[in-house]
Point group: C2
Chain length 254, copies 2
């Protein structure tokens, strides 16, 4: 049995301040929960609705084998912890630790820096794309949305469990990396043509805010600014789309 | 003044069946409304809240010059027509016509076919990316979400007003295009490496459903299947991201 107070406690994890004070976050949906259970993250509890439990009996064996607490709750209670309109009926709470990034310890040739990304769906999608392309470390700037935001987790499709993600950073970290021979590359509307561009060996790709573009601080220290050339009439590309195109080029045409 | 009944009528346009019977759709947000007003689409009415009207007085001159009806409504009424949590306070209703696609009349070398795309955000984002890359004609399959869905419009950032978009199509149109020397190219997990692939002169790029992948019908007639090679651990790429990467490659590396 799960108490009213416990339910209230878990639903509070939709708010950043509670996630940060408790060092816990809640993920929803079978795909995300499974990815979490298969990762090194510690799972505190799995919550399922009666309906979900009926249709996915193996989840109980899975939980039992891993010695994870599992509770069946009513749909109307599930809605209180859920952020989606038509929830699947499974969620899990994981513990996490804040990671420190040490510029002198990274072994990645390509790092990604998220420069004030405010849309959680875009942030999660970029993490998923980074995961596809084998990026290991993602640096997130101070004024970005946090990656444990429920929408960001959902968009990441489990990829938040695969990568090292460092938050609350500022451009100092980029200067530290520059001093270690990384080139900082950001994209803007008036840069070098991406498709003629040859990427240096060690790079930090900075992807910037949807509406504002690169922050002044990033622009000032960038070694190169690149552009995806426009052929048609759209005013801009979605930042997650632009990131995907730049990542694919940076990884395959070096 | 706007009547209760009119408001109810405009709010019904959030549903596909009403859009189709009335041949009207509603767009929200200043960017989308402006794109609509600058396009060849006929605008029936602009609706703004008191607060929006206060801050954007020039919208009235704009409406007057174009002889478009403009009405100020209360915020609590605006919420009834709005699909967003924190609406900007401007919306407009446009007329549209269903377009027929004639495979023998197209002059595009690259066409895009959306194969059962069900997520409106993805569909709108793909339209925006197509617009960026200068695609003129988009073919949408029968079981895709419709592009005048409010979420799709929002994600398109006004690009629905720039392109010719044909809906409710099936794979017959692809066969007609094949007979006119177009190559049908779809993407799947086990195709040719996109980054080694040389695109033919005349192509139809088929982008498929997020979860299901290419439909059987598309797979059967495809001339080539391509893959964005995976380096890391994500199970899949978001379809809008994959489309962006494929489009950028198809357009720049021919």
């Amino acid at each position: 049995m799960i108490s009213r107070n416990e339910l209230k406690y878990y639903s509070s994890l939709s708010q950043k301040k509670f996630r940060e004070s408790e060092l816990k976050f809640l993920v929803e949906g079978l795909k995300n929960v499974e990815e979490g259970l298969n990762s090194h993250f510690n799972c505190e509890i799995i919550l399922v609705t009666f309906e979900f439990a009926e249709q996915h009996k193996n989840i109980f064996n899975h939980a039992k084998k891993k010695k994870i607490r599992i509770e069946i709750i009513r749909s109307q209670d599930f809605i209180r912890i859920s952020e989606t309109k038509s929830p699947q009926g499974i969620a899990a709470v994981f513990n996490y630790a804040k990671l420190n990034f040490y510029p002198d310890k990274t072994e990645s040739n390509i790092l990604v820096y998220l420069d004030n990304i405010s849309d959680p769906g875009n942030l999660g999608t970029i993490i998923r794309t980074c995961d596809w392309f084998g990026i290991n470390e993602i640096l997130i700037s101070k004024y970005s949305v946090d990656y444990l935001n429920p929408k960001a987790i959902r968009a990441s499709m489990g990829s938040i469990f695969h990568l090292y993600i460092f938050e609350e950073l500022d451009t100092e970290v980029l200067i530290d990396l520059q001093n270690r021979n990384y080139k900082i590359i950001c994209s803007d509307l008036d840069g070098k043509n991406l498709f003629d561009y040859r990427f240096p060996e060690k790079i930090v790709l900075a992807f910037s805010n949807e509406a504002a573009g690169p922050s002044e601080a990033v622009k000032k220290i960038a070694d190169d600014i690149i552009t995806i050339p426009r052929i048609g009439n759209a005013e801009s590309l979605n930042v997650a789309i632009a990131s995907g195109i730049i990542l694919s080029k940076a990884l395959t045409n070096r």
